[in-house]
Each structure stands twice: as C-alpha cells, then as structure tokens.
C-alpha cells in the first residue's frame, strides 16, 4: 500500500488522536522510578508492581534498590527517583529543610499486639547479665549512622529506662550484625525478619520489643520530591492509590491472615522474588512470614509520631532547629492519624 503525504499525515494524526482519546486522563503511562530496600516492609511496592496496580493507574514503574535510607532521600532530591519509602532520617529532614523533599504518607507502623521490631543484645552482654532493656546502662548500641532510625530508637529506649547508651556508627546493617555477633557492640534494635533468625542462631538474644517504648511508632514513610508534591498532584495521587492497593493485599495476606494459607503462600512467593531472593524458598518463607508488620491502610500518616521524631532530631541538634513540621510533611494526599 502506497501512502501519499496527506494520507500519511492523516494516519499519523489519527493514531495520535486514538492514543490520547482512547485512554482516560490519568493513564498517560508515565515512567516513574520508585526507591526501595530489600526488606519485607517494602512489600507493597513489589505487590503493586507485580499485580499491575501501578499500571492500572497509568504509572510505568521501575524499582531502584538502595542500601540505606539517606541515599534514597538524596536520589529523590536529585530527581533520579520519584517516590521512596524509608525511615525518617536526619538526612531526609535536612533535605526537606532545603525544600527538596516532602513526606506524603506513612507506611510501616509499630502496633501493639503485632510482633514488631526487637531489641537485641550480644551473647556476651546477655551472659554478663543484660537480660532486659533497663540493664543497658553504659552499654554500646549499634546504628548505621547518626540520625538513623536506630539512633532514634536507641535513644528513646534509653530515655524511657533512664539508662545511658553509647552509640557506635557502623554504616551498614551487615556490619552491625557482624559486630553484634562477635560482641564488639552490646545492643541493637531491628525489624523482626532479621531479629528472629539472628536470635535463633544463639549468637544474640532478644530482650524486648520496640513497640513497648515507642507505641504507634511511624517507622517508615512514603516521600517524594517537593516538586512532585506541589506540581504533580495527579501523578502523586495515582501513586498513593496504587500503593494503597498493594498495602491492602499485604495486610490481608500476611498480617490479618484473611486470605488463609494459600493466600499467604502466594504472597510469600511474590515477595521472595525481591527479598532473600538468594535463599531457597523454604528458608526465605520463614523469615518473610516472621517479618510481617502492619503497613498503614491507605498510606495514612501518623503525624503525631512524625512530629515526635522531628522534635528529637532537633533537640539532638542533628538537624537545623528552625524547620517546622509543615516543611517536612504534605498532608494533602492521605488521611492523617
């Protein structure tokens, strides 16, 4: 078939019209990048991607994996990543202070009655009599960096028990685990899917729950660049909607167990592609199920907990003392708790 120029132009116009008219306003198939860590608390990202919830909302999502919270925040500030989910760190608050980032929702929460983050001590410390958090006085506590969530948890536990802790920055979770196993540091706190296998090996002991000290602690939050939050409300809303569906699936299958064993097994298979992918299914399944903590339905944000964390960072002089809560969060997108 031969086309003359007019026909070719008409065809091109027609194709364009068909693609724009045939789809609703929101599904422009926008390419976006979502930052994630290989933790079970990020499962909602994996579910929304694997089950096509992002696609339904017209978002063509690519996951980018990070080792720690702050690099992800920096990547969002630089525009390399559009949405991220991690703990509130000093780095994140500093970037919000500079007008680069907004927290738009809450994800992982401590909830009384559900197994949450654990307080761990090394075998040596345990044998020396540190069998409960009130005996931690003068002990060393591991953290990745100053201003990380570990730093926050440790100092909150210390404040509540009236004990003094020495914080040791070790940069990476792997390094902390090594130091704890060999007794170089005395204590640490971490999500259950890491804490339980460690305690099972006998090298460390669980001596308490974080939720006892920080009830309703908003552990991780969803955040995006200030530009996306202000100028791309539609894309941000679509992301939240898709993410909420992922969260609902996760809570139903893993936390509330309403889908039964089959639903749980199916979910474990899905998560296993991203978390503990190097381990065989049976071994990984145990850790993945162990690590089930509630994710906030509808990405709801616990503003009270975030404010508490912000105030702690300010009082420790880890961030600029003048930053206000409204500079850190944008409550236009989700329900607040």
């Amino acid at each position: 078939m031969k086309l003359n120029r007019r026909e070719a132009l008409a065809l091109m116009g027609g194709t364009l019209a068909a693609t724009t008219l045939g789809t609703p306003a929101f599904s422009k198939n926008r390419k976006i990048t979502v930052g994630a860590l290989r933790f079970t608390s990020h499962s909602a990202s994996f579910i929304a991607l694997e089950r096509g919830y992002f696609q339904e909302m017209g978002l063509d999502v690519e996951l980018k994996f990070f080792q720690a919270a702050t690099p992800m925040a920096v990547a969002i500030a630089s525009g390399d990543v559009d949405f991220g989910v991690t703990a509130i760190s000093g780095g994140l608050i500093s970037l919000a202070d500079k007008g680069a980032i907004k927290v738009i929702g809450g994800v992982l929460s401590e909830e009384q009655g559900i197994d949450g983050q654990k307080i761990l001590v090394s075998d040596a410390a345990f044998k020396a009599g540190v069998t409960s958090p009130d005996k931690l006085d003068g002990k060393t506590f591991g953290m990745t960096t100053a201003g990380s969530s570990f730093h926050y948890m440790g100092s909150q536990i210390a404040a509540k028990e009236g004990v003094g802790l020495k914080f040791k920055p070790l940069q990476k979770v792997g390094a902390i685990i090594g130091a704890l196993k060999t007794g170089q540091i005395d204590a640490w706190s971490i999500v259950p899917h890491i804490a339980k296998p460690l305690a099972g090996s006998g090298a460390v002991h669980i001596i308490g729950d974080v939720s006892h000290y920080l009830p309703n602690y908003q552990v991780t939050t969803a955040f995006t660049s200030a530009k996306n939050a202000a100028e791309e409300p539609e894309m941000t809303r679509n992301f939240i909607a898709a993410y909420s569906k992922g969260i609902a699936d996760y809570n139903a299958a893993m936390v509330d167990g309403t889908l039964g064993d089959a639903g749980r097994a199916e979910m474990v298979d899905l998560i296993h592609q991203y978390v503990y992918a190097g381990k065989p299914r049976e071994k990984a399944a145990k850790s993945i199920i162990n690590g089930s903590m509630r994710l906030n339905p509808g990405v709801a944000m616990n503003v009270g907990s975030i404010e508490k964390q912000l105030n702690w960072f300010k009082s420790e002089k880890l961030v600029n003392g003048t930053i206000g809560l409204d500079q850190l969060i944008d409550t236009n997108y989700v329900k607040t708790l």
């Binding site: 702050t70 925040a73 920096v74 500030a77 630089s78 760190s89 000093g90 780095g91 500093s94 970037l95 500079k98 007008g99 680069a100 990745t144 960096t145 100053a146 201003g147 990380s148 020495k166 914080f167 040791k168 920055p169 070790l170 940069q171 390094a175 090594g178 130091a179 060999t182 170089q184 540091i185 880890l318 961030v319």
Partner: protein, 286 residues
Amino acid sequence: MPENSISEKSKSGHSIRASGSCLASKQQPVPFRGGGFVPVSRPWMGFVVFFVLIVFLEAGTRIGFISALTIPKPSDVLNTFVELYSSGLLWTHLVPSLMRFVIGAAIGTLLGVSLGIAIGLFAYVRAGLVPLIAALFPVPKIALLPLFVIWFGIDEASKYALIAFGTFTPMVVATYGAVDNVDRGLIRMGQSFNLSWFSIVRKIVLPGAMAGILSGLRIALAIAIILLVAAEMLGAEYGIGAYILQAGSLYDLERLFTGVAILSILGVLVNSAIGLVEKHVLRWRG
C-alpha cells in the same frame, strides 16, 4: 632580475665577511633567550585562585543561580567552623583523629622504611617480599576494615591498623626504589676507600636514598589522611572523619565542607612539615 639577485647575494656575503672583520665596531645585540621553564615562587597566586573561587561561590549561592542543594554558602561554612571552634568540639574531634593519624602513620611508615631498606640491600629479602608487597599494594584497605574490626577490635587498634597498613605499602615501594637509585659511583668510591659495609650503608646509601624516601612519605601521609575517614567509618564517635560521615548522612553540607576543609588544611600542614624536614635532611645536596 636574476643578475640583480646574484649581485645582492654577493653583496650580502661580502657584508658578512666585512662585519666579521670589523666585529668590534658593528656588534649586533642578541636578545637573551634563556630563562623560563623554572618554577618561580609566586605565593600570592594560590591565594588569588582560592579567593576568586570562594567569591564566585558566595555570590552564586547568595544570588541564587547555585542552589542550596548543590553547594553551601562559603560564609556559612566559615560560621560552622567558628561554631565548632568556640563550642570546643573542634578539639574533641581533632585530637582523636590526630592521635590515629600520628600513631597509625608512624607504625606504617617506620615498618615500611625498614622493610624497604632491607629489600634494597638484601637480595633474598627482595626476591621473597617484592611479589608479596606487589600483591598487597592494590588491596583496597577500606574493604578490609570489617576484617580489621574482628582482628583488632572495634576501638582504636583497628583504626591504627588500617592507617598503618595503608601507609606501609607505598612506603616500602618508595624506599626500595630510592635505595636502588643511590649513585653506584659513590658506593664504589666508598668501597675503594675501604669503608665497612655498615659505614657505606650509613654514610652513603641512607643519605642518598633520603630524597626518594621523603617524597614517598608525602604520598604515604596523604593516603593516611584519606584513610582517616575510612578508619572512622566503624565505631568512631568522635574524629574529623566521623564528623564528615555524620554530616554526609544528615545531608548537612556546611558541616561536610567544614570537615573536608579541616582535612585539606591538615594535608597542607603535613606537606610543608615534610618540606622543612627535606631542607634539613638534604642539606648535603647544596
């Protein structure tokens, strides 16, 4: 025309001969073509470059064409430094770092120089250890940090070990290279004057190798400063490296740049200290 040009040529030839004959009367000034290609001291130029750069950054961040995310205001960095100094935290951070630097580098360079001299003097030591040193040199010392923590503990010893190891290998290589480059003629002269082996080493080999050893020391100490940050990655509460890492993880650019500036100043000081030592030790070169 050709005729004319020939006559011109002969004329000029004649004139040359003529000028040769009456050299004293018709002397042509020859401009001096030497000079240049020599490092001349212009100490203020370095300050001008720094000054222009800092003024540019200050203006850029104040006017706003450089965003606060990319570079902090130089004046804020200065303020942070003044705050650090007046709060006394500067010494809290600087003293442990200097301790680690001095002890680590002292262990590393002393061992390195001794082993380097041994390699330079004894064929069996050379044959046995040069391949080992070559194997150790490219190992990224930072990668070994977790291992050092297990070997030496999380406190000071692992930090000394890291810095010592990092300065050791460049020092060995620089030293045996310097010993190899000692003027053979001088050594033969010593031998023909019937100096003892020990005397030759002490009076000819060591002074002759000193220039090379000291330039190796410059590199080794710069590496030690670099490794200071790496050493303080694990378990250091105080120290310039810990301060920089903390600023990085808090995305606090003012503190980050303050820490980096302190390391730079440390580098300049160490370099000029070695310059002084060079002047003293290498007096014999005249």
